[in-house]
Symmetry: C2
Amino acid sequence: MREHPTKRSSAAGGPSRRSIGLGVIGLGTVGASTVRVLLEHQREIERRLGCKLDLKAVCSRRIESLDLSWLRGRVKNIKVTPDWRHVVRDSEVDVVVELVGNLEAARAIALTALAGGKHLVTANKQLVAEHGLELVGQSQRAGAGLGIEACVAGGTPVLHAIREGLAGEHFTSVLGILNGTTNYILTEMEDRASTFADALAEAQQRGYAEPDPTADVEGHDARYKIAILAMLCFGAAVPVAEIPAEGIGAIDPVDFAYAHRLNRTIRLIAAAERAAGRRLRVSVRPVMIPRTALLASVRGATNGVLLVGDKGGNTMITGRGAGGDPTAVAVLSDVIEIARDVLSGAAGATPLGYTAWHAARLAPLGRQVAPFYLRLVVRDRPGIIARVSGILARHRINIDAVLQEPGQSKSALPFVLTLEPARQEHVARAVREIARLKVLAQPPLVMPFLE
Amino acid sequence: MREHPTKRSSAAGGPSRRSIGLGVIGLGTVGASTVRVLLEHQREIERRLGCKLDLKAVCSRRIESLDLSWLRGRVKNIKVTPDWRHVVRDSEVDVVVELVGNLEAARAIALTALAGGKHLVTANKQLVAEHGLELVGQSQRAGAGLGIEACVAGGTPVLHAIREGLAGEHFTSVLGILNGTTNYILTEMEDRASTFADALAEAQQRGYAEPDPTADVEGHDARYKIAILAMLCFGAAVPVAEIPAEGIGAIDPVDFAYAHRLNRTIRLIAAAERAAGRRLRVSVRPVMIPRTALLASVRGATNGVLLVGDKGGNTMITGRGAGGDPTAVAVLSDVIEIARDVLSGAAGATPLGYTAWHAARLAPLGRQVAPFYLRLVVRDRPGIIARVSGILARHRINIDAVLQEPGQSKSALPFVLTLEPARQEHVARAVREIARLKVLAQPPLVMPFLE
């Protein structure tokens, strides 16, 4: 690794370094966009930095099958390799941009790069959520920069906002719509009364959903992202596997009809908040929120994050959560910040905003008290409300209201109970009992009401 | 000035510096909040920094009349002075926080502090809008940090977003609701059909508007803020005095009634966008926007900024725009960032995100082509529409539609013409001619429709 100047020049705008070298590993959608946006914005970026930013090497396992003539035409002498080790060891490369999909490959690249004193930018949310503290430690030991903005909400600068723009805040909670696929599906169901299956097919056709949509639809993708947000908001490492996640597969257009009657809507909300005993309560689940709530205004394949602080109140950031170009903007923003630090000899100081970390203990979600929405679909039989309310009463859960949309089919009749505030675990126990009733045409659906 | 370490320690989390000293000048609403929030969040901030952050001195011209027992109780040996020079020269102070209201005093404090090698944080928007490049130059020469987050939209981290989180973006425009007072007044008029005068009185009673509301209501406050946003988005110094500003004093509840018929609403929008010939088009004016527009969701005394980039698309940040605590959060976030830079020996590298600046040339607003809303209030006389449309026709402006709300008084009858896209200067000329018609009971009101 070349020596970096350890003190910036004190002359106006005149850092002594001539250029910063970049290596990009992974040329999928995000990797290709990153290279293209870099070349397109290069002059403007260099005006910001007062220094050249040179793409020195690119790497892809399938490099043989890619047509890179456009790149070779634009960047003379660019090194092209199928082996990431060549990029990570390249003495001309200062910043390694890791954009491969595979977790184990990404981890090997990241740790090797940092150990070798390279600065690292990654868009791999799973890597950061599961191995974040390992990366932080490695980066601090090596005095190397670490950029992770692209891991959460694509082009939306939410991680920088937490770490820098709102660094003086004491966050009490962070809530987000962090998965564009599921938000697209939910707003399609809301606006067109599409079924979940139809809205998913539509999302797949438009390229918003993967052929195997499980990670999005079941909330696993959002789980990585809320773990990273919690990490930055609270300076705590969250055990991803322990975060309870519920998907949106059981939601039906009829739930939006009921939601609207209650002046609410449904969103898949990832949330992390401080709870008693210095714990964090973290979850991913569909929630009934007021139609006037800030997060209700996040529609379609976009992302939104609501940061709640004890002094500044609510700050909300919305934008495009995924896609090649927005993610490339996030990657390049990290590259620029690291380049600034390299120029001033300061890279790697406090990689993710804290110098001291602790392991988060999660508060059990079951203890949370909230009012609930319970939707049942039954074969039309008398006495069902009496039986359901009997079960709820035995669990000491009070019914607030019973709602029924008119004009439903007689063989699968949905109706809704709204429940007064109760512990989630008590509601879950009662609902398990209700689920065993033979008159149900579908499993019951339960969601909390949150403000 | 003490020597700062020029290289961070390479041991994990162990910077060699023990503490950073802070001096706060100005103890009004924001100054007092800054001190209080600092003391409240001090432990958390120090965990972020891995270093102590010590309040060493406070200064207020009216220090004799303030009860500072709460502060002396909390901070041993704090220096208290009515003379800012004592703070700026204090060898224990590393970062000067300038929170006085007066422009000339603020400028003297800022330049003296920077010249003496102190890092500076300011919340004075007029200072930064009018003397921004002077501050940048001084800070670069001295190798000192410069924090201005609190100048625009209080606790909303929009300046950091532009400079860091979205540094890789090429911005095409930035639009904002940057003045909470006028947005409160407009949404009151919208929701309760209040007159402008009543809504203003209500805002004054709630402390959202000053006794002399001119700077807010006429758009001058927003003008400073859009100049600063343009500076950071485009790396260009904007001549504040040349920004055309129009206030909201002529807007009537009836305009909201018409706006809603057109599925629109009215907001005071500050905008800066790239125009032909490397110019910027900058303005502050009330605008008719769709009710579904992102900025339409910004309601009450809050702020919202919409950043439009050519790669990442629309990013929107909303939050509390003013008030002691949110502004204090912004000030402290800057202090923390500067402290990080001090710890790593990097302060002052690229103060506002660019190493090279140019002077912006403004594109004349008159050349902008847009459809327009034209509201006239006339004494009920036949033939008025024929005369108005005759004038518009002579200026080659086409009428799209004529609207009239039913049930109005006969002596002051409002009606609205929507105009097809035309140059603003042509519309203005026609409207000046229309304004001379004797049948008008009030001056005409004209606003562009923008998407």
